[in-house]
């Protein structure tokens, strides 16, 4: 009897712990699925990302010191004297965007490395090795993500073999547009392109809201609407 009781107790304990473990695993799976579903488009559309990016951008732009500053303090001192002001702003915005990506994508790493280490190519090659290692992990995650096919999948016309010349040419063209993807295999280029497009859209949204704000939006309602801040 005691044996049975103890067995039952052990059984329930095991069941309980099993349930707990299952719940924990389930929860972890849910979180993971959320994280994976919140890739690309959803991630770049979140309000938090928007605010983070706009804050970073404002900070970077304020640091740029594009203003005259009382007649421009000496043309030769400032190392970052730029040929065109628009280019500086564009580079700063791109850098802030790549920073917002937290280096999880190839294009963000490429953008950050290009601006920071223009001369040190060796450094970039070493970093690329480490980056590839890191991407091995995300590649596995991406594999799991791509395993969930058929969820809201839109049918595309027949591919006629992945290596068909036209498709390959287009993918190469795409690779030349997305930073850091010129010599990557096709699936990498396509994946990077999806994330890059979503990020660019956020960049455009943020910069236009900022421009509207700076060009003296009459009321506070206009920038609030532009930013989508629901606090007011």
């Amino acid at each position: 009897m005691t044996a049975m009781v103890s067995d039952a107790a052990v059984g329930t304990d095991r069941r309980r712990s099993g349930r707990l473990r299952r719940n924990k695993k389930h929860r972890a799976q849910l979180v993971q699925r959320e994280a994976e579903e919140g890739r690309s488009h959803e991630r770049w559309r979140s309000e938090l990302q928007h605010k983070l990016y706009s804050a970073k951008l404002m900070e970077a732009l304020a640091r740029l010191r594009l203003a005259g500053d009382g007649g421009g303090g000496g043309g030769g001192e400032e190392v970052r004297v730029v040929p065109t002001r628009g280019r500086t702003v564009r580079d700063a915005a791109d850098r802030a965007l790549a920073f917002a990506a937290k280096g999880r994508t190839r294009w963000s790493r490429a953008v950050l490395m290009t601006t920071a280490n223009r001369v040190k190519l060796k450094f970039r090659r070493i970093r690329a090795g480490g980056g590839k290692g890191r991407l091995g992990v995300t590649g596995a995650g991406g594999g799991r993500w791509m395993g969930r096919k058929g969820k809201g999948k839109v049918s595309v016309g027949r591919l006629r073999g992945k290596g068909s010349a036209g498709v390959r040419r287009k993918v190469r063209e795409l690779g030349s547009l997305v930073p850091g993807c010129r010599v990557e295999p096709m699936n990498v280029v396509l994946e990077e392109a999806t994330d890059y497009i979503a990020a660019l859209e956020m960049q455009v949204r943020t910069m236009s809201a900022l421009a509207q704000l700076l060009s003296g939006g009459d009321s506070d309602a206009a920038p609030a609407a532009g930013h989508g801040h629901t606090s007011s």
């Binding site: 690309s40 488009h41 404002m58 732009l61 304020a62 740029l64 594009l66 203003a67 005259g68 500053d69 002001r85 628009g86 280019r87 702003v89 564009r90 915005a93 992990v137 590649g139 596995a140 594999g143 791509m146 096919k149 809201g152 999948k153 839109v154 049918s155 595309v156 016309g157 591919l159 073999g161 992945k162 036209g166 498709v167 287009k170 063209e173 795409l174 547009l177 997305v178 295999p185 096709m186 699936n187 396509l190 994946e191 392109a193 999806t194 497009i197 979503a198 660019l200 859209e201 455009v204 910069m207 900022l210 421009a211 704000l213 700076l214 060009s215 003296g216 920038p223 801040h229 007011s232």
Partner: protein, 90 residues
């Protein structure tokens, strides 16, 4: 490399048609123009072409916006007032 092998694909390059088709369909959902049209009349090459032109137009838009922002930021008092205003409204 090992992650690719763990996907259990036996194709020579390790990347299958299905994966590419999946990625292309995902891309198609992002594009503003193709989404409105019927999905089955769209080929992969068209999606890729649209993607390229869309990225180029986004780049152009960012360039225009940065030009505009640089002009707006150049006037110092305008910029400071705007920054202060934005910090206050947030």
């Amino acid at each position: 490399m090992s992650s690719r092998r763990s996907r259990r694909q036996s194709a020579s390059s390790g990347i299958t048609d299905d994966q590419i088709a999946d990625l292309v369909s995902r891309l198609q959902q992002l594009l503003p123009e193709i989404r409105s049209r019927r999905s089955d009349k769209v080929s992969a090459a068209m999606v890729l072409q649209e993607t390229c032109s869309y990225i180029r137009s986004l780049h152009r838009e960012v360039d225009d916006l940065s030009e505009r922002l640089s002009e707006l930021l150049a006037t110092s008092d305008n910029a400071q007032a705007a920054i202060i205003r934005s910090l206050l409204t947030q």
